[in-house]
């Protein structure tokens, strides 16, 4: 039932994006999230759309799958669009229904903000689609490394993140399993009135909570049994390697940022 969701999922392939160092990908996503706010007219948004689509094509992930997987968030994007369309009251009136007017600025804002939203989701999805959760946490741990000097628990944070990410698929499977078991006992999850469906959440969540706590305890015991005692003196099996391509990709985005600065109105 959740098999079409792509958020947080990794798709193995051999592409430039897959081969990149997770650190550079994280930097690019972070930078992108910042520079996207520079865009404020058709040219600058055009540049961003072009850039995002270029990245998507680099990833070698089938477009049909990418679009299909983003469908669930499309509702959110649409919601943003209409919110701006209805609530902004600036500029010339383009549509007049008497009781309700659509303003030029509202349409503009609606399109731009929802586009911005869409691009952000797409770029961050590309990160998780092309990078394994372990790579992401490794990269993050390294990037945040300097913070250790001020006693920030970088290793613990990275560990928590990797454990959380590691158990997303397990939790999804578990959810699927329990949904099926309860469906077989007469619960309806995909049809019926909203009230009934909300009630159906209880027989799903309680078993999930119970098994999650059980699993957490087992994991803690297993880690202790294998002598885990924090990040002190721990070496890495997977070494990150920064290549020329990584530098080039970052330079590419910097170039785009300069273009945005030049063309923004």
């Amino acid at each position: 039932m959740m098999e079409k969701m792509i958020i947080g999922r990794y798709v193995p392939a051999d592409s430039i994006l897959h081969r990149m160092d997770p650190r550079s990908k994280l930097i690019i996503v972070f930078l992108f999230v910042c520079v996207i706010f520079l865009a404020n007219n058709i040219w600058t948004y055009g540049i961003l759309v072009l850039y995002t689509f270029l990245m998507a094509s680099f990833s070698k992930i089938p477009a049909r799958f990418l679009i299909g997987g983003l469908k669930p968030v499309l509702w959110l994007v649409l919601f943003t669009f209409f919110l701006h369309l209805f609530l902004t009251k600036e500029g010339a009136v383009i549509l007049d229904f008497g009781w309700f007017k659509v303003y030029e600025e509202g349409l503009r804002q609606g399109i731009f903000i929802s586009l911005r939203f869409f691009l952000l989701i797409l770029i961050t999805s590309l990160l998780t689609l092309t990078t394994t959760p372990i790579e992401i946490t490794d990269g993050l741990e390294r990037l945040l490394g300097p913070l250790k000097k001020v006693k920030f628990p970088v290793h613990e944070l990275a560990l928590m993140m990797s454990i959380a990410l590691r158990f997303i698929p397990t939790l999804m499977q578990e959810t699927d399993k329990i949904i099926k078991a309860q469906t077989a006992r007469g619960v309806e999850y995909s049809s019926g009135p909203i009230k009934e469906r909300l009630k159906a959440v209880v027989p799903l969540l309680i078993p999930l909570f119970i098994s999650s706590f059980k699993r957490a305890e087992e994991l803690a015991v297993a880690m202790e049994a294998r002598g885990y005692k924090g990040g002190e003196g721990r070496t890495k099996y997977r070494q990150l390697s920064w290549a020329v391509a990584d530098t080039l990709m970052i330079v590419g985005l910097l170039f785009v940022s300069i273009l945005l600065l030049v063309f923004r109105g």
């Binding site: 098999e3 049909r64 309806e188």
Partner: protein, 289 residues
């Protein structure tokens, strides 16, 4: 109520990069009141077949007929509840589905979802708890205070209380001790014999399949490798062994004895008693009195 699968194919995550063909061209008939065992390795597609039996999964090709309903590939199906009332599934580790405050409420959950009144559901709960070999006093307890074996029985009682016409068991004894294993298997066999409850058993255990089932289906890499009566299936053990599948221990012992004495018994034995008789005959004929 008969169930039959007609050339069923199922693909997981169809139309995504994760697409995976689980079963193809599977045809199985389950007449009402029969006992069928589905055997196969992990990943042979037996769990996928099982989920078609009450329309939890809909075939991507072919059709599944459950009583008077036909579930066809590529068609939207509505109102599947009726099917689920008639076909109860006991999933692997069914104790994971318990959630209510008391055992009684949990057992009543299934029947009440299908519109059974509370008093009737409670009556069924008392019935079911006795059937699975627990005392009525357990009904008031929280399911989470029970032992693993007791939880398993409570979960099974929850499915029995739905009073299905067909019960599907996915390795119901996984993780139980040998005694609990035999008790659970005997319980289902008694229900099958006494009430004519159609039973589908999905298992790794050739012993259980040979001992209880009228008919065995062997799954291999998503297809039906063989189907037939236990005797037909096991009369040619070499073929099973060639596919990396096991044969019942009794039969393995018989094969060893045959080899050691360089002979061939005229019967394939599936129980200890049968083999004892055959060997007694053979040995008395051979040994000087």
């Amino acid at each position: 109520m008969d169930i039959s699968l007609k050339n069923v194919e199922y693909r997981y995550s169809a139309d995504t990069p994760f697409e995976r063909l689980a079963i193809k061209d599977v045809s199985i008939d389950i007449p009402s009141g029969s006992y069928l065992a589905i055997i196969g390795h992990t990943g042979s597609g037996k769990s996928t077949v099982l989920q078609h039996l009450n329309a939890l999964l809909k075939p991507t090709k072919g059709a599944v007929v459950i009583g008077s309903r036909e579930i066809k590939a590529g068609r939207k199906e509505k109102k599947l509840k009726g099917i689920r009332e008639k076909v109860g599934i006991v999933f692997q580790f069914p104790e994971h589905q318990l959630f209510e405050e008391t055992v009684e409420k949990d057992i009543c959950f299934g029947p009440m979802n299908f519109g059974v009144s509370e008093t009737e559901a409670k009556r069924r709960a008392r019935d079911a708890i006795k059937q699975v070999g627990l005392s009525e006093s357990i009904l008031e307890k929280s399911p989470f205070d029970l032992s693993g074996g007791q939880m398993r029985r409570v979960a099974i009682a929850g499915v029995l209380a739905m009073e299905p016409e067909c019960i599907v068991l996915d390795e119901p004894t996984a993780g139980l001790d040998p005694r609990g294993r035999k008790e659970i298997m005997d319980l289902f066999y008694t229900l099958h014999k006494e009430r004519g409850l159609a039973t589908v058993l999905v298992t790794h255990s050739m012993e259980d399949a040979a001992r209880y089932a009228d008919e065995i289906v062997i799954m291999h890499k998503g297809t039906v490798l063989k189907k037939g009566k236990p005797l037909e299936i096991f009369s040619n053990p070499e073929e099973l062994l060639a596919h990396g599948l096991d044969v019942p221990e009794v039969l393995r012992f018989q094969m060893k004895v045959e080899k050691a004495f360089n002979t061939k018994f005229n019967k394939t034995c599936l129980t200890e008693d049968e083999l004892t008789d055959v060997m007694a005959d053979f040995l008395t004929g051979r040994l000087p009195r």
